[in-house]
């Protein structure tokens, strides 16, 4: 099996082959004598040249992290069966930038009206979840093009709430 793994912009080509003696592994073409044991589900024990690595896989919401010892790596992976890319929810490259709900919650207050001018970082929407209010700020200086939610509305994680142009 061949996988393309991207970590912090750098991409790695990982070739895996199951053999009688466990996994054969090539990283970017170079053979690595890695000894793999699946200790618990979601946890791997890797031995490579005598060094021991406890590796855990973290899947939360839209992100996948690989935790090696106490270091955490955000990974995206392309494999024969599935494809996923990781892009921050606030993405989009045109003049229009979206304000998305970072978690499920409830819209408490709208601090800016459609058409009003806002400074980058100015609070536009107040959202509440788990009894904490958080102010969502304008991603850029511009004009509030659209407000898509009303006060009191329940929203899901990732839902677009407003657009700034």
């Amino acid at each position: 099996m061949i996988y393309e793994v991207t970590i912090a912009g750098k991409s790695y080509r990982v070739e895996l082959q199951r053999s009688a003696r466990g996994w054969q592994c090539k990283l970017d073409g170079r053979e690595l004598p890695v000894d793999v044991t699946a200790a618990q589900s979601g946890v791997l024990s890797l031995l490579l040249n005598g060094r021991s690595y406890e590796v855990k896989q973290e899947i939360a919401g839209t992100d996948t992290n690989i935790v090696v010892g106490n270091e955490r790596f955000a990974v995206s992976l392309r494999d024969p069966r599935s494809f996923r890319s990781r892009r921050s929810a606030g993405g989009g490259d045109q003049g229009v930038k979206k304000i998305n709900a970072p978690m499920p919650g409830k819209i408490v207050r709208l601090l800016a009206a459609e058409g009003s001018a806002v400074q980058a970082g100015q609070s536009v929407i107040v959202i509440e979840a788990m009894k904490m209010q958080n102010e969502l700020k304008a991603p850029k200086t511009g004009v509030v093009k659209k407000i898509i939610v009303a006060e009191g509305a329940a929203v899901d994680a990732g839902q677009t709430l407003a657009e700034v142009e």
Binding site: A8, F73, P102
Partner: protein
């Protein structure tokens, strides 16, 4: 001693109190809201009764329902934990009227200290040093006037408040009005009371608090201090005991003032007097919390006492089993508050299912947790999952031990603030105890180190990512690199809850 006690709370503190009851041979009665049927405190208690919908106001804040359960179950006393009804004097009175012992101070003391404004007045009268500000609730106009007089920056605080809720920092006149209103509406939501007041901001203060304990026979002692300066938005994140800047003499002085404050308020049971300490080590009365604190474990570890056991014994009418001179501090303890929130994304709450939970253990490690693997964290309440505490002979060893414990800790399925603690504990200022209430905000505004360090670990991560993907089908859903189903499942779960939330608030 009581035969049966009702715990009017949820999460780790409910479990903490249930454990104490179990250890003392007291039957425990849990209460739970609709979303908490599967919560840990329900299965750990001897009895458990539903008290309504998720919304706290309809369940954990519902005095009538809770007292009804207490009566039906035959509980002789109620332990309120922290938050919810713990500082609600009306609840304390209602318990008394129902002939049920409220495990805490008298309602009168709660009312006095519960209103920060009345507390200020009383403490001023008792000669306790105070921060300049208003001694009562204000209108926006009054606030603007007073702020102009004592000068910015100022703090706006909910009179009934606590835990940073309904609290806002205001750096200039323009910010005041919106902050004032947000504080009011937050206060109204959280405490059913929108009274807010204003205080001068002490720059770079430390937050140091004194644990006091009084029985119902006039004895009050202090159990040393807790250093709680590591805060984010006035929420404590890390607490320790003792404080690096408090020596024997300062401890005696602060302890004396705290005991004085408690006695002047006719205080009994466990309480905490919070102080702001400026850079010259002057301390100012901040507030008194008339309940058990979240961070009480660090005091337990350095004193060797069990505060919840003592709360129960005091409430049952026993005398304090020791005197002030018997209290000795030994070693150093640090607590990390583990929250379901994403430190890489503004600390937004991250509810959802805990698919994997690997807990630290071994020497000097204590965990007070309210969750378990497989449980779905609801988004209706405070997102604290657990408290991790490390104890060692000295502060440096306690920090090293906490770092070791954090390395062992893993929470899968939801985001947590575990990575934050590593950053804090590795910071040279924290190691040197150069901390104040602004320390964490400064740390957070600084650029975090890029995680893809050149130490070759990213190679391991890449290989592991591929291995997880390759072994996914042979394992259960959580372990494989198959985010789509998992994610969908979570989202739809959230959707349901979110809808419920929406309905509830229509």
């Amino acid at each position: 001693m009581f035969k049966k006690v009702l715990i009017a709370n949820r999460g780790e503190i409910a479990v903490r109190v249930i454990r104490a009851c179990r250890e003392m041979g007291i039957a425990s009665v849990a209460v739970f809201s609709e979303v908490d049927r599967a919560a840990l405190h329900v299965s750990k208690a001897d009895e458990a009764y539903p008290i309504g919908p998720a919304a706290a106001r309809e369940s954990y804040l519902n005095i009538a329902k809770i007292l009804d359960v207490a009566r039906k179950s035959g509980a002789e006393a109620v332990h309120p934990g922290y938050g919810f009804l713990s500082e609600n004097a009306q609840f304390a009175r209602a318990c008394a009227d129902a002939g049920i012992k409220f495990i805490g101070p008298p309602a009168s003391a709660m009312e006095l200290m519960g209103s920060k404004t009345r507390a200020r007045t009383a403490m001023q009268a008792a000669g306790v040093p105070m921060v300049p500000g208003s001694a009562r609730g204000l209108t926006v106009a009054e606030a603007e006037a007073l702020a102009g007089k004592i000068g910015f920056p100022v703090m706006i605080k909910a009179a009934a408040g606590g835990g940073g809720k309904g609290m806002r920092l205001v750096r200039n006149a323009a910010e005041l009005k919106p902050a004032f209103e947000t504080a009011q509406s937050e206060a109204l939501r959280a405490f059913n009371d929108d009274e807010v007041y204003l205080e001068k901001l002490i720059e770079n203060p430390r937050h140091i608090e004194i644990q006091v304990l009084g029985d119902e026979h006039g004895n009050v002692v202090y159990l040393g201090e807790r250093e709680c300066s590591v805060q984010r938005r006035h929420q404590k994140v890390i607490e320790e005991a003792p404080s690096a800047i408090v020596d024997e003499e300062m401890r005696r002085k602060m302890g004396g003032v705290a005991v004085q404050a408690a006695k002047s308020a006719g205080y009994t049971n466990a309480g905490t007097v919070e102080f702001l300490v400026d850079t010259a080590r002057n301390f100012y009365f901040l507030e008194m919390n008339t309940r058990l604190q979240v961070e009480h474990p660090v005091t337990e570890l350095v004193t060797g006492l069990d505060l919840v056991h003592l709360q129960l014994r005091i409430a049952a009418g026993e005398k304090l089993p020791f005197k002030q001179e018997d209290v000795r501090l030994r070693g150093h303890a640090i607590e990390c508050r583990i929250y379901a929130e994403d430190p890489e994304n503004n600390f937004f709450p991250s509810p959802g299912k805990i698919t994997r939970l690997m807990r630290p253990s071994g020497p000097g490690v204590r965990e007070d947790s309210g969750v378990y693997e497989g449980w779905t964290v609801p988004l209706d309440y405070d997102p604290m999952l657990s408290k991790l505490v490390a104890y060692a002979p000295d502060r440096a060893a306690a920090i090293a031990r906490m770092r070791r414990a954090l390395d062992e800790y893993f929470i899968g399925g939801i985001k947590s603030n575990l990575p934050l603690f590593r950053r804090i504990l590795e910071h040279p200022d924290f190691a040197a105890a150069r901390i104040d209430t602004g320390f964490l905000d400064r740390l957070l505004s600084a650029q975090p180190e890029i995680s893809a360090s050149g130490n070759g670990l990213s190679d391991i991560a890449a290989i592991a990512a591929a291995l997880f993907a390759a072994t996914a089908p042979q394992k259960n859903g959580q372990s494989g690199a198959r985010p789509e189903p998992a994610r969908h499942e979570e989202l739809s779960a959230w959707k349901r809850v979110a809808r419920a939330e929406g309905l509830r608030n229509e």
